[in-house]
Amino acid sequence: MTSPQPRIGVLQVPGVCDDRDALWALAALDAEALFLWHTETELPDLDAVVLPGGFSYGDYLRCGAIARFAPAMEAVAEFSATGGLVLGICNGFQILCEAGLLPGVLRRNESLSFVCRDIPLVVERTDTPFTTRCSEGQRLVIPVKHGEGCWYADDALYEELEARQQIVLRYAEPVNGSRNDVAGVVNERGNVMGLMPHPEHAVDPLLGSADGALILSSLVESARERALAAV
């Protein structure tokens, strides 16, 4: 039996700049990746959606605050409500937080400086659809590039998230002032994840690290399983 290629949509919102890298990386990891335009009100038949990084709407007001009202975001919210897999990277993470699909909010880096470098991360959970290819406690090196990646949740929310094990990735060193070094979180249901580091920039050793491929190929594999289950 041939294994079908899962179809993964990459959302294009004005001001986003990592859409092509995400599309390329997903295709390199054996997914059928296609762009979704922000004005679309319905999604095609998909097994997963990726919200790539960039600076949607110039980061005006707050990062992701305007993009969350893109017509396609309503369709993405419906897709996630039915259990569809959604991964938000950097600005995509910010959009998902603003949309209330992920907990917390991303704020200006504590240093006020834009951070752009390879960062070591620790994998806290391997039972999410986005980390099945990782091992628990594994260190991944994936680049970050952001000015507003300081994830924040108040004490009550943070404790809830810890109790429900919604923290998936942490920075292994301080990066941006993020609460408890949180780098990636998942929603309660486990089908929506956001992270500030850019796995799509780390899928080929030529670029310094291929650790990002572990995250994206976990997603591709999980999407493939869903495609097969739906047949």
Partner: protein, 82 residues
Amino acid sequence: MKATVLVRPKQGILDPEGQAVESSLRQLGFSVGQARVGRVVDLEVESADPSAARAEIERMCEQLLANPLIESYEIELAEEQG
């Protein structure tokens, strides 16, 4: 009707921008306690009724202008003079 919305970082929320402004002011020789940096949004709304305008602007704040996790807001209506 004209209105002004003031959006501020909530009390207790770290405000690195405010801290940077505060330390610059100190370097200039000003003795300042705490500086916090927020945002001002000037608006014109169609409604001429202050309470309806306020209610509408509150909805704008909840949905878009402020993020309730980290920001508080204040609405000032410019009552039209005679």
